[in-house]
Symmetry: C2
Subunit: 151 residues, 2 copies
């Protein structure tokens, strides 16, 4: 059963969620960032039913976050590659990673963002690039303004 669509909502969070798909889609994108490209790689990593994986991959292609690239003609096989829009989802994943690490850390492995030059773990902060101040802190707010009707 399809959940209610968030697409018509006038909130960019809801609209982004609608296009990304659902929970599985986020983990598919995560795997794509880790280098997975082929159906079997996603399936092995996620333990997801093939029918669901097919749907989620198709939705991510339709939403423009992945693109399909043929890598074999006999038999016909495609792989799934992050588009520019898909790459732009990376900060969302990394913000989720930081939140998960702070509050629900895994117990059998550590998954950290590291500075590859120093090897140091990083707890990232979402900032205003002009001021360097955290946008989740004081001095920043979310502002909603109606746009002129098209009618």
């Amino acid at each position: 059963m399809r959940r209610k669509s968030f697409r018509d909502m006038q909130c960019p969070i809801a609209r982004g969620l609608d296009r990304v798909g659902e929970w599985w889609s986020i983990l598919i994108l995560r795997d794509a960032f880790r280098g997975s490209r082929r159906f079997d790689e996603f399936q092995d990593s996620l333990g997801i039913a093939p029918t669901i994986l097919t749907k989620r991959l198709n939705a991510l292609v339709e939403a423009g976050l992945l693109s399909r690239q043929r890598y074999s003609d006999h038999p016909p096989r495609d792989e799934y590659v992050l588009t520019e829009r898909g790459h732009d989802f990376r900060p969302v994943l990394l913000a989720m990673l930081a939140f998960g690490n702070r509050h629900f850390p895994p117990d059998r492995q550590s998954v950290r963002i590291v500075n590859t030059a120093t090897g140091e773990a990083v707890d990232p902060v979402l900032v205003d690039p002009k001021t360097g101040m955290p946008v989740a802190g004081p001095g920043y707010a979310v502002e909603t303004t109606p746009l002129k009707s098209r009618a």
Copy 2:
């Protein structure tokens, strides 16, 4: 039907998603940041079935992102207030907001992060607080290390 749980996965993204709940939960948290506290406020904003809203609120309380606070004894009524952990989810929402605005902007209103002192719109960046460099860019990677077994 409950989807497969991500809780046992050894990835902080999956674990965070599991605890947060699902798509609705993210919009409930968004509304909580906008100032909603009462059942009716969430329901009016989201147009969500009461049974689903109750489940999602309970899950967010159980996961420690919201806390229940009694505001009326006759009749008994609770409101839902963001905990410190709940507040810590804000960067995830704001990263989603930025992604949604860039790729799937609403057509009838604009929803922007603004610097309240200058009124300027902000397109936030997730950075390493030590270097100020974007962690989604070069020089940063996600590193997975097994932890010592408890056995």
